[in-house]
Amino acid sequence: MGEIIFKKSGSLIERRIDGEAILLDIKSGVYYDLKDVGVFIWEILSGGSTAGKIAAAVAESFDVDAETALADTLELLKDLESEGLIVRDAES
């Protein structure tokens, strides 16, 4: 079994304001704010991706080891999924 591919929910309006990603979930009317690494990960999710690939990109672009990058990525993906901002697309 492959890794899970995550992608953005279709019910979002997103704007980039001063380097931050401001998201509006139109199902709930709730706004969210992503900064720094969160914005980087959010960009990758535009095309759908797995936690492993995202973590590798984070480790490559930021000054963190692979283990930390994976832990941080998984934590954000968990938060995003629990808020309904990303969905599971398929398995790679």
Binding site: R15, I22, I26, Y31
Partner: protein, 350 residues
């Protein structure tokens, strides 16, 4: 990741003058003839923004950071290209709100909108009575009550959030309880209002329909909630040397584009920043001398800042502009209502 309450987002964006919400006056035309309408000239034809104009405008609004768009009028369904404009808006990435009298809505249009229902936050429908007699005493348009009720029911059945807005005046105030009951039975959000403003062209005959104090006091609405929508801020945000960031969103996080493309601070303050057909929205929003001057105004410049009710009363500079042609004076109709419910407070001399 941080969840942002709307008020916090407003605070975050207001200092950057980043637009969040834009009202589009799609047309000034209207098929009704309401006694209180502030527009005047509702037979306006010509010069309106076309679907092609909106096709150019919407991406610039999105790029500027606008999240939500409200369609208003006149009656927005009177625009000859309204289906093309609605299609553009429903395919764009905005959260929409519609304001309508409902009389021109048909099942095909409702079905068309329902295909992208998630993009429409709410449809606000104006209802002035629970009977044709009361409603049409305001709209002066025979048959409008039945059509409006039918529209409310079509929208509800299609799953839209319908918000019924009822302006109460001398001729329809007696039906306030029945309007409430009509909405309660249908499970609709409902709101009364009683603020009648002079027309934009200065005509004031509608002010005779304002409710006198003894009737205002009998309204079913608990008027103590008049100020509850206030954006929570610290008291110091309203000090005389502060800008209007905590008070009024005009030209900060909200704006208005009239039917001919003029970008205005709000729906009732006729101070154009320029025209979106001549210059991209985002540039106008950012660089307009008018908007930048509004952003620099200080609370101490306003008469209201010296009143004991301020800022609890949430006075509207736009209403003052309509009443006096001068936003710095107090909007007297709000003063009248506030003093009725909160008492007469001493003016603080500075």
């Amino acid at each position: 990741m941080i969840q942002l309450p709307r008020h916090d987002l407003h605070k975050k964006l207001v200092g950057r003058a980043n637009p969040m919400r834009i009202q589009l006056e799609i047309t000034r035309r209207c098929n009704l003839d309401c006694v209180h309408c502030i527009q005047g000239g509702c037979s306006e034809i010509g010069g309106e923004m076309t679907a092609a104009d909106y096709e150019r405008l919407l991406p610039r609004m999105s790029a500027a950071g606008v999240f939500s768009v409200s369609l208003t009028g006149g009656e927005f369904l009177c625009h000859p290209e309204i289906h093309d404009i609605l299609d553009l808006l429903l395919r764009s990435d905005f959260w929409l709100a519609l304001q309508t009298n409902g009389t021109l809505l048909d099942q095909d249009t409702v079905d068309f909108m329902a295909k992208r229902r998630e993009k429409i936050r709410a449809v606000a429908v104006s209802l002035y009575g629970a009977t044709a007699q009361a409603h049409e005493s305001v709209t002066r348009s025979p048959g409008s009550f039945e059509k409006t009720i039918r529209a409310i029911d079509m929208l509800s059945e299609a799953g839209f959030r319908v918000e019924v807005i009822s302006l109460l005046m001398t001729m329809n105030q007696e039906e306030a309880p029945q309007i409430q009951e009509l909405c309660r039975k249908r499970g609709l959000f409902h709101q009364f209002n009683s603020i009648i403003a002079p027309r934009k062209d200065g005509e004031t005959s509608s002010l005779e329909c304002r409710l006198p104090e003894e009737l205002l006091k009998k309204l079913p609405r608990p008027w103590e909630t008049f100020t509850e929508n206030f954006i929570p801020h610290e008291p110091d945000d309203f000090a005389p040397d502060k800008t209007l960031d905590a008070w009024c969103t005009m030209a900060r996080t909200s704006g208005y584009i009239d039917s001919r493309g003029n970008l205005l601070p709000c729906s009732i303050m006729d101070l154009p920043a320029g025209n979106v057909k001549d210059r991209p929205f985002d540039e106008l929003w950012r660089d307009s001398a008018v908007f930048n001057a509004l952003r620099k105004l200080k609370i101490g410049q306003f008469e209201c800042s010296r009143c004991g009710h301020f800022p609890t009363c949430r006075p509207c500079p736009g209403l003052a502009f309509l009443e006096h042609g001068n936003m710095f004076e107090s909007p007297k109709e709000i003063c009248r209502i506030i003093e009725l419910f909160l008492g007469d407070k001493e003016v603080i001399q500075t």
